[in-house]
């Protein structure tokens, strides 16, 4: 874009109307915090995929016998792998939370004629998530 001259008076210019279609830049998402947040949310879904792949590798190792399994668990114990897992876990928790935050937009819960406020729905969801996680954790530990 540049500074174009002002319209000159005089003859009215005959023309063909020309609708200008601005192009969307590939960096459209940096111009607004909300968009950045959205992009991070979308990117962290890759971590979910990574976990699925990890699980498949685990199953594969299991089916190939104790040596393969041992090799895999050894690799899991390396500092690199532990670091990676911590990063993945953080991203995964972030991803999960973002879905809790948007949950109220998809759910309208009414008690009587009053709408339940979104913040309560979010809190409820998070509470449920913690309870279920603890229950599973307890199950694993107690077996």
């Amino acid at each position: 874009m540049s500074n174009a001259p002002k319209i000159s008076a005089g003859e009215r210019v005959r023309y063909k109307p020309q609708i200008y279609m601005p192009q969307m830049s590939i960096f459209w998402w940096v111009k607004d915090r909300a968009y950045v947040f959205f992009i991070i949310r979308e990117l962290t879904s890759l971590v979910v995929a990574a976990y699925v792949i990890l699980m498949m590798i685990q199953i594969n190792a299991l089916s190939q016998g104790p040596e393969a399994w041992q090799a895999l668990t050894d690799w899991f114990a390396t500092p690199f792998s532990i670091g990676l897992h911590i990063v993945f876990l953080i991203l995964l928790i972030f991803h999960t939370l973002t879905w809790f935050w948007v949950a109220p937009t998809a759910m309208v819960v009414r008690i009587g004629s009053k709408k339940v406020p979104g913040s309560i729905l979010i809190a409820g969801n998070i509470a449920m998530w913690l309870i279920i996680s603890l229950a599973i954790g307890w199950l694993i530990v107690s077996i």
Binding site: M1, N3, I7, Y15, Y20, M24, D32
Partner: protein
């Protein structure tokens, strides 16, 4: 001396220059002035060629939406003072074709509204002689929020999907479909589903959620879309698990 503020306004006059450019105007910074008052001041006192739409100046006709410092806003409901000391950048609504200066092409949008089939659909027409439908205040409350849309199109400019996928029917149109779907007098949901669960329909939405943030009338189109998806999912599972209960 009266305080002033600079408005950097995007201009586009097709017969004069093939691309948009910026022009700066200095206007008084008056209390109670909204951005639209400043534009009117420019038009009346400085430059009669500046072009934009407006009408009601009370936030209800939906004409005056523009990008103010890159965020979609109703210019008749946005105070100039909030942007002091300036400068303020005024550009046309994002993701729309520009006809001239701040005037965008709304033909597509009008077509999208129609895709929502925004009229009461009933299996059988009720004759006027039978009087009014009954509808309790609670039943009215079910759809009321979605009936508040003024078609200002701010939500379209807040939605990157609209920009990336021009066929996406968009937030306001889906909210409008829901306005009728949730109306106790309406029986047209199936008809609307057929249109809105297909190409460019509700599943194009990736839930950025900004549409609801910018909506001046608290319509919450993002919520309308997610509720639509939720209903769609339930119906899909029903049709898989209980095919005999399928749609009539």
């Amino acid at each position: 001396m009266e305080q002033t503020i600079t408005l950097q306004v995007q201009r586009y006059i097709p017969e004069q220059y093939p691309e948009p450019y910026f022009q700066s105007y200095e206007v008084p910074l008056r209390k109670k002035w909204v951005i639209l008052d400043a534009l009117n001041y420019i038009k009346d006192e400085i430059d009669g060629t500046l072009t934009y739409r407006w009408s009601c100046r009370m936030g209800v006709c939906g004409s005056c939406g523009m990008m103010v410092n890159d965020r979609p806003a109703l210019t008749c409901a946005t105070f100039l003072e909030e942007y002091a000391p300036g400068p303020v950048r005024i550009t046309p609504l994002d993701y729309f074709g520009i006809i001239r200066d701040l005037v965008v092409n709304t033909d597509d949008f009008m077509g999208k509204l129609k895709r929502a089939q925004p009229w009461l659909i009933t299996d059988e027409a009720k004759p006027l002689s039978e009087g009014a439908y009954k509808q309790t205040p609670q039943e009215k409350a079910e759809y009321e929020q979605y009936s508040m849309c003024i078609n200002c199109m701010l939500c379209y400019s807040a939605c990157p999907v609209v920009g990336l996928e021009p066929d996406f029917v968009g937030p306001a149109a889906i909210a409008l479909a829901q306005r009728y779907n949730y109306d106790s007098r309406d029986e047209g949901e199936d008809q609307r589903n057929e249109e809105l669960t297909g190409e460019g329909g509700i599943y194009s939405c990736t839930l950025v959620g900004e549409c609801s943030e910018v909506c001046p009338k608290a319509v919450d189109p993002a919520g309308a879309i997610q509720r639509y998806k939720a209903t769609g999912a339930v119906e899909w599972w029903q049709s898989v698990l209980m095919p005999w209960k399928g749609k009539s």
